[in-house]
Amino acid sequence: MSEAPLLTATGLHLSFGENHVLRGIDLTVHRGEVVALIGPSGSGKTTLLRSLNGLATPDAGRIVVDGGPGEQVDLTFDGGPRRAWGRAGRRARAQRESLRDRSAMVFQHHHLFPHLTVLQNVVEGPVQTRGVPRTEAEDRALALLDRVGLADKRDAYPRELSGGQQQRVGIVRALALQPDLLLFDEPTSSLDPELVGEVLTVMKELAEEGWTMVMVTHELEFARAVADEVLFLDDGVVVERGAPAQMFSAPRRGRTREFLHRILHPLD
């Protein structure tokens, strides 16, 4: 891995008032790598993911995304006022926007646009914000929908789809932006058990195709199969990181062991 990492986050701190949620997180993601974030509820997984995508602004730290020549984003957070207006607000917004153009997030609850059809949901971003001509965007969207088996749903509204189908459209909407980095926040945790597989299958294919992914997940089996690295977060710090096989079979830290035990043997 002599190539520069796609994403480097160092020393990320973020507080909500008194609640110090991220306490110095370091994270490196290389191109083509799949990183899984695991950890107990409230440990800061979602907040970390949102920081990487510009939906949340850290108080301190640095995020560098190297999207190739001319596509560099290098942000240093200095805890300036978190106002949404005036010069500070504009600066923060410009920072967020530059990050967001490099990555795309798939939410826990799909957040599809309910007033738009499946196809319109997918082309909205490329057409409105990336200047892609509508017919071209639609062709690409249909090809992507076809890949996840949803081409025949192009004119359906999100509410007419099952949870698994909605989440697959959510993934296609993210893919259509052609991001350098895909972020997944527990994309299967709000699904009925029998629908989880169809979403994980799509994610696994994306990983095999070489997409760079950071995913929050509680599907340890799945993480073991596709992730190159697993980070265990607790209380806003990375307690342990390593290859999934090693971490799941022989965790080094007590807190990791306890957490894994709770997930694998919830009744003990």
Partner: protein, 217 residues
Amino acid sequence: MDVQLFTDSFWPLVLGGLTGTIPLALSSFAIGLVLALGVAMLRLSAHPVLAWVGRAYVSAIRGTPLLVQLFVIFYGLPSLGLTIDPWPSAVVAFSLNVGGYAAEVIRAAILSVPTGQWEAGYVVGMSRHRTLRRIILPQAARVSVPPLSNTFISLVKDTSLASLILVTELFREAQEIAAFTNDFLLIYTEAAIVYWIFCTVLSFGQSRLERKLEQYV
């Protein structure tokens, strides 16, 4: 009851409604809605001064009688050298009034759209403004149709106040007929009936519109 007088005055009253009340209500509502959207945006602004301006406006409109607002504009402003004819005065007063009430409806509707929708807009690369226009407002519009229809129907009735600044509309017509014939009970009751007919037709249109929108939500 003087049936002849009733039938003779029915069409003049309806005509007063069609040429006075309804155009007055429609134009004030249209202008008022644009204003309301602006005020709602002020109310939602992260900038404390802008938010305060929005709040102050809504408070001033909702905290004072419409009749007083109307009189300030028509009878008050001339002493500042600003004389406005009855019709435009009424349109200004009613628009400002709708601006205050509808702003709260629109603001609540915008707030009712889940924050995940804003975030999804940002994720696909949209600015705040574009997310508002393409993602949030279409969803908010559906939520606000029922309360805004109510605002409109109230406005239709409130336009009767314009008779007090000499605007020719349904109620002004009724006052003139009543003064001429001296049958106040009959004519004013008839005016009430004509208002009721207008409002009933409008609420019928409202429920049809709502049913139609429901299919899309």
